[in-house]
Amino acid sequence: MSKIVLHLYIAGHTPRAERAINTLRQMLEHDLAGYECELTIIDVLADPQQAEDQKILATPTLIKSSPPPYRRIIGDLSSVADLLNVLNLPPKTGSSMINKE
């Protein structure tokens, strides 16, 4: 499988955003550790143009741009199992993660 590329859009460091970040880190470090992963966190308050370019309508929004199929998820990102299911990513342990903010 090609590198997993994720973009998380948040609106400031709210408890919701923190919960989403923690869930994603846990998912990447444990459940998807066997893949090469890249997670980028974008704060739309700090970078509104990027949100507009990507037509982000609500936060938190998680976008999986690779591997296909493209997925965009909105809402409660606190369940790893639900995320893996919607992202269509089978768990695999034991590799590295690139984290960008």
Binding site: E52, A58, T59, P60, R72, G75, S79
Partner: protein
């Protein structure tokens, strides 16, 4: 009877008789969708219908207002697959002007235009969340004010239950051995605690005072109480005033006044000792007056301080040392060597010192020590000094007596 409305009644058989029968048939798919569209279109909450890829298939006018965007602009755009854990999730809805609203999101699976889809309902809860935030901040501000106070503060409701406390109060509880802080925290019954235990509450006597303030019979109640602690007895001032506001209750502050109490006690003791010193001065002055020689002799003999200042200073120094030694002897219960005192008496006698000079030296030595000594030590100086002075006068008298005897013996018989 037939109804074309979404509904449900399609035929009615037996129009007028008791055998009337209504047949209900399930609506067709298109009718159900029309119904849904009608409901969703007029819903006060924002409604967005997305397919399984999260692409917008429909949105109502409330959703347009919430997002501040036209429906045509969003139709066919990817909104996203909605994830809800439990019944609802909260999201921030972003607007083109950079502002955002907080919305409560619910999701229901539906069939839309013949395909599986998701109905996303967005209820604008921005005002509620802002109000909650403002309330939380106001409460935090109030708690910060309470915690900034060094006094121990407890706020009671009208039943005597604790509704707020500050950090100082909890710290005070910990320092005084209360391990179950719940017993003195929010929710605990302060009145009940007053009735059974004096610790931290002021005790049962306080109870009536607090009830009077709560009932409006008193504007304020205050008292002082003592509390035995591992570090000794401590004193506290309790002050209770009514809670000013819609809610009835009392605000109680406990202030540690131990230091003020001790300072007042020390000041009173010091004043008492000063009075003792003054009394002793008066007594000794009287003794001095009684022991004065005749007016003629007195006119010839001025005070030792004036005649022989160096002798006076030396005697003062020696007497002060002996006074300190006397105090040490008292503490360690040892005998004060009287030889040194006798030598001082003889030294003073050689300078023709009078009892008045001895009193002068004694008072000067006590005065010097009163400025530097705590009350208890000063009291000990006064007590020891009296004995020392009497003994010194005895030595001076013995010296003059032996001198007189020697003089008489050396006189020729005819005199």
């Amino acid at each position: 009877m037939k109804r074309s409305n979404p509904g449900i009644i399609t035929r009615c058989v037996g129009k007028h008789g008791p055998t009337r029968r209504i047949i209900i048939e399930p609506p067709t798919r298109s009718t159900a969708e029309e119904n849904l569209r009608a409901i969703v279109s007029h819903d006060a909450d924002g409604a967005i219908i997305v397919d399984n890829s999260g692409v917008v298939r429909f949105l109502n006018s409330a959703a347009e207002r919430l997002l501040d965007r036209h429906g045509a602009e969003l139709h066919g755009q990817v909104f996203g697959f909605p994830l809800v854990v439990g019944e609802r999730a909260e999201v921030e809805v972003l607007r083109p002007n950079g502002e955002f609203a907080v919305a409560e999101m619910r999701v229901v699976s539906i069939v839309w235009e013949g395909q599986d889809a998701l109905l996303i309902t967005l209820r604008d809860v921005t005002f509620e969340r802002q109000a909650e935030t403002a309330l939380r901040e106001a409460e935090e501000f109030s708690i910060t004010i309470l915690n900034s106070l060094t006094n121990e503060i407890v706020v009671l409701d009208e039943q005597g239950k604790i509704v707020a406390v500050n950090e100082a109060w909890l710290r005070f509880g910990r320092e005084n051995g209360i391990t179950d802080l719940a017993a003195i925290s929010v929710g605990a019954d302060y009145f009940a605690a007053c009735a059974v235990d004096k610790t931290l509450t002021g005790g049962i006597d306080v109870l009536q005072g607090l009830r009077d303030v709560l009932a409006g019979n008193k504007e304020e109640f205050s008292c002082e109480y003592e509390l035995p602690t591992s570090a000794g007895t401590r004193w506290f001032a309790l002050r209770a005033v009514p809670l000013r506001g819609k809610r009835r209750g009392i605000v109680i502050s406990h202030t540690d006044i131990t230091e003020q109490r001790r300072a007042a006690q020390l000041a009173a003791e010091a004043e008492m000792l000063r009075e003792q010193v003054r009394q002793m001065e008066r007594e000794l002055t009287n003794v001095d007056a009684l022991s004065r020689p005749e007016d003629t002799a007195r006119s010839r003999l001025s005070s030792l301080r004036q005649r022989l200042p160096e002798v006076f200073e030396y005697a003062l120094h020696r007497y002060g040392s002996l006074l300190d030694e006397a105090l040490q002897s008292r503490i360690h219960r040892t005998q004060l060597p009287s030889r040194a005192l006798r030598e001082l008496g003889e030294f003073l006698g050689s300078g023709w010192a009078t009892p008045r000079d001895l009193i002068d030296i004694h008072l000067q030595a006590i005065r010097q020590r009163s400025a530097q000594s705590p009350p208890k030590k000063l009291q000990a100086y006064v007590e020891e000094g009296r004995l020392l002075l009497l003994e010194l006068m005895g030595h001076l008298a013995s010296f003059y007596r032996s001198l007189a005897i020697g003089e008489l013996a050396s006189r020729p018989p005819e005199q």
